[in-house]
Amino acid sequence: MTAPIACTMTYQARTQEERMTTTGRDLTSMGPGSVAGSMSHTDPAVVMRGIRKAFGPVEVLHGIDFEVLPGEIHVLAGENGAGKSTLIKILSGAYSDFTGELQVGGRTLRFARPSEAVRAGIATIHQELSLVPSMTVADNLFLGWEVAGRFGGVDFALQRAEAARILEEMELDCSPRQLISELPISCQQSLEIARALTRDASILILDEPTSALNEREVDSLFVRLRELRSRNRSIVYITHRMEEIYQLADRITVLRDGALVGTAPVADLPPANLVRWMVGRDLPKLKSDATQVVRTAAQPARDEPALAGARGAALEVENLRVAHAAAKGHFVVGGVSFTLNRGEVLGLAGLEGSGKSEVLHALFGALGRRADGQLRLFGEPFSMKGPRESVERGVVLLTNDRKSLGLAPELSVTHSVSLASLRRFSGRCGWMRRREESKAVRDLTREFRLRAPSDEAPVRSLSGGNQQKVYLARCLLPQPRVLLLDEPTRGIDVGAKADIYDLMRTWVAQGIAILLVTSEMDELLALSDRIIVMHSGRISTEVMRDTASKDAVLAAAMGSQRRQSNGR
């Protein structure tokens, strides 16, 4: 993974007002199904009535009513597989075979293809990026509606100038001539948003747009969205992050298992109720905000912090360096030393480009000769030879890019989960013991509460959260002793997150050592026993859980605290 060069970020702590606010009011009496009364006198921009959609014989949406007003940010919430994506795909023209009524701007429409929805002023930004990696920033921004030049050609100069203006306005530090493939993923996502905004869409659909953004970018996105709201645009926003919902939303619509639970103004739906609407049950020990969910899950590990040290070191890292992929003599990780103990979660914090992901990849042996340093795994030398050796010695990596580094879409659930443990289920001449394999996989996926049509179904047919569980299960099946987790809960819902926190707790209790990278500060603070913060490829500070605060970690990540000599 290359370090981002173009998009250098600085952190800005959010203002207190912008933090998640919860109305103290208890609205438990308000049951599911109650729809808030007339919000506004303006005509809705989008009305969906009685929307039903089936895939073959299986109905996945059971009569959804959904409306979006001009000048509102409407959050669409629900667990993975609740039907949010399907509803959005109907609105954005990806599915035309539904029953029910769809009105946009007062006219009843039925889009045959996404381009018709775009023409009707609906822009969709999908979770998975849709930029062309081999084309330049400017070309991508104008892809599909190129500026006509003379002789029927494309006016590239004008496009570049326009693109430069947009980039500046978006505060994106990249050039119109740069190739998309050269940009870090967060920068690509911002561009995707820029592209939708330049098309002057009146209805903007964002499907988890912040999953790859850092806090500064999130802030600038939010500013932009509020600005759009004030210009009377409608925004449909899908997210799993509680704090985002309460920062942004005017109204919230909740779906569960393909049915509408209800729509409510944000003030009438405090987090506890929202979660109850989404999950349909009270989560165990659920408190009033997301932080609490995390804290509760991580509690037992916290009770015995001394024990972790007593159990001894799992992985000792001394002077780990990772060379830059392209620039010779530069290091994205410039000499990092730390110890990961048995039965402990060590949080690794840092900004995009601080080298935290590279540390994980290097320890796993995925970077080959780019990495060097002295490692000891349970006291024995460990040489980062390659993924195969690492897996054999009980070191497993979960990358933050499930799609391109994690799963093969056509492989079945069983085959995906067992991929890293095939030796365990095969004889010396390579004959697979399939019964043993599928039993082990089934036991594990049940533990993960995986929802899949069958064990033989290809993983592409699963929802994002369930795909993530498949990926996690693959990492756990080889019975690792050291888990390197890079964004283990990216893009999954509250219920699944709680499941995963629960699982992590049991793994730690079994003595597994976890090195955790996550961009969700609450998660980091709640799960980690210790946190080391990286800045520009070096460790800038180490904090214990009890003394760690969001502000302190952020400040260290920005490099503003006293830090070790920074020889870059």
Binding site: F364, A366, P387, R388, S390, V391, E392, L397, T399, S404, L405, G406, L407, A408, P409, E410, L411, H415, S418, L419, A420, L422, R423, S426, G430, W431, M432, R434, R474, P478
Partner: protein, 311 residues
């Protein structure tokens, strides 16, 4: 499904009942066997997200080598067969190394191997067919007996109801099926074809897997070459030109995706039989070759569209 359709069509256009005779089916099976053997190896390579254009040349090389070893050199079949298979495996492995280690695109690598293999076949044969007219020390041709193995491969068993080459084809299908569906290597091939980087990070020995896939394809090409030599009773360096395209067509008609990571040898078997029946029905009804070619082209597209419709 395409196969069922083909059989139904065969029953309708049965050419006065010729389609109901077993001998017709037997001949069809014999005719597709060499292609089918190539298609087995091709299936493995295509699932690994590659392609093997060199199979036709390796077939010719194997045919020539086999004929040369058994006739002018007078080797016994027992010695010649393993050597020829080894030649196929080695050249296949070279393709595999170039793909896996050097990271050259499979299309380019196997295109080069296709040209190279054809040249090597001509070097070994001296540019001529190798027959049982063997020149002696004085350069005078002498007729030697056609080795027994040629007759055996080209014969039929079960009262003349099943060709040996068909049995060899069936064995190749079985071996491929075992490798793909029942072995660790098979899992690795699907994983590498489905997402190479994910496979690598899961500890799959990616290079070894790719090399094995191309080596397997080379071995199957060698098997096909031996069968081809036996059927033609000589080793012809020009034999089998463009067979790789038939093999690819058979794999694709079955429904295996060229994108890799998905498919099976059973699907390929269906593809092989579909094309086989198409050819047979057309020749039974005395359709001219031009029609046959055009229909084969059309059916490839139809089969692919049909497969997509089912997903």
């Amino acid at each position: 499904m395409a196969l069922v359709l083909m059989i139904v069509i065969g029953c309708i256009f049965s050419a006065d009942g010729a389609f109901y005779r077993w001998s017709v089916h037997r001949d069809m099976l014999r005719q597709v066997s060499v292609f089918g053997i190539l298609a087995c190896g091709m299936t493995v390579v295509i699932i690994s997200a590659g392609i093997d254009l060199s199979v036709s040349s390796l077939l010719a090389l194997a045919a020539v080598t086999f004929a040369w070893l058994t006739m002018p050199q007078g080797w016994s079949a027992l010695a010649a067969v393993p050597v020829v298979l080894a030649v196929g495996a080695v050249l296949g492995s070279i393709s595999g190394v170039l793909v896996a280690q050097m990271r050259i695109q499979p299309f380019i690598v196997t295109l080069a191997m296709m040209v190279f293999g054809r040249g090597l076949a001509k070097v070994i044969s001296g540019g001529r067919k190798i027959t049982n007219y063997v020149p002696d020390a004085d350069g005078v041709s002498q007729v030697v007996d056609l080795p027994e193995i040629f007759g055996i491969i080209d014969s039929r068993v079960l009262g003349g109801n099943l060709s040996i080459v068909t049995i060899i084809f069936a064995a190749c299908v079985l071996i491929t099926w075992i490798v793909l569906s029942r072995s660790r290597l098979g899992r690795h091939i699907y994983a590498v074809g489905g997402n190479l980087e994910a496979a690598r990070l899961s500890g799959v020995p990616v290079r070894l897997t790719l090399i094995s896939a191309y080596a397997l394809s080379g071995v199957f090409a060698a098997v096909a070459g031996i069968c081809q030599a036996a059927q033609e009773t000589h080793g012809d360096p020009e034999t089998g030109i463009a067979y790789e395209l038939d093999a690819i067509a058979m794999v694709v008609i079955g429904g295996t995706s060229l994108a890799g990571g998905k498919g099976s040898v059973i699907l390929t078997l269906i593809g092989v039989l579909t094309i086989g029946y198409l050819q047979k029905i057309l020749s039974l009804n005395a359709a001219p070759e031009a029609t046959r070619l055009m229909l084969t082209g059309a059916i490839i597209i139809c089969a692919v569209l049909f497969q997509r419709g089912r997903e």
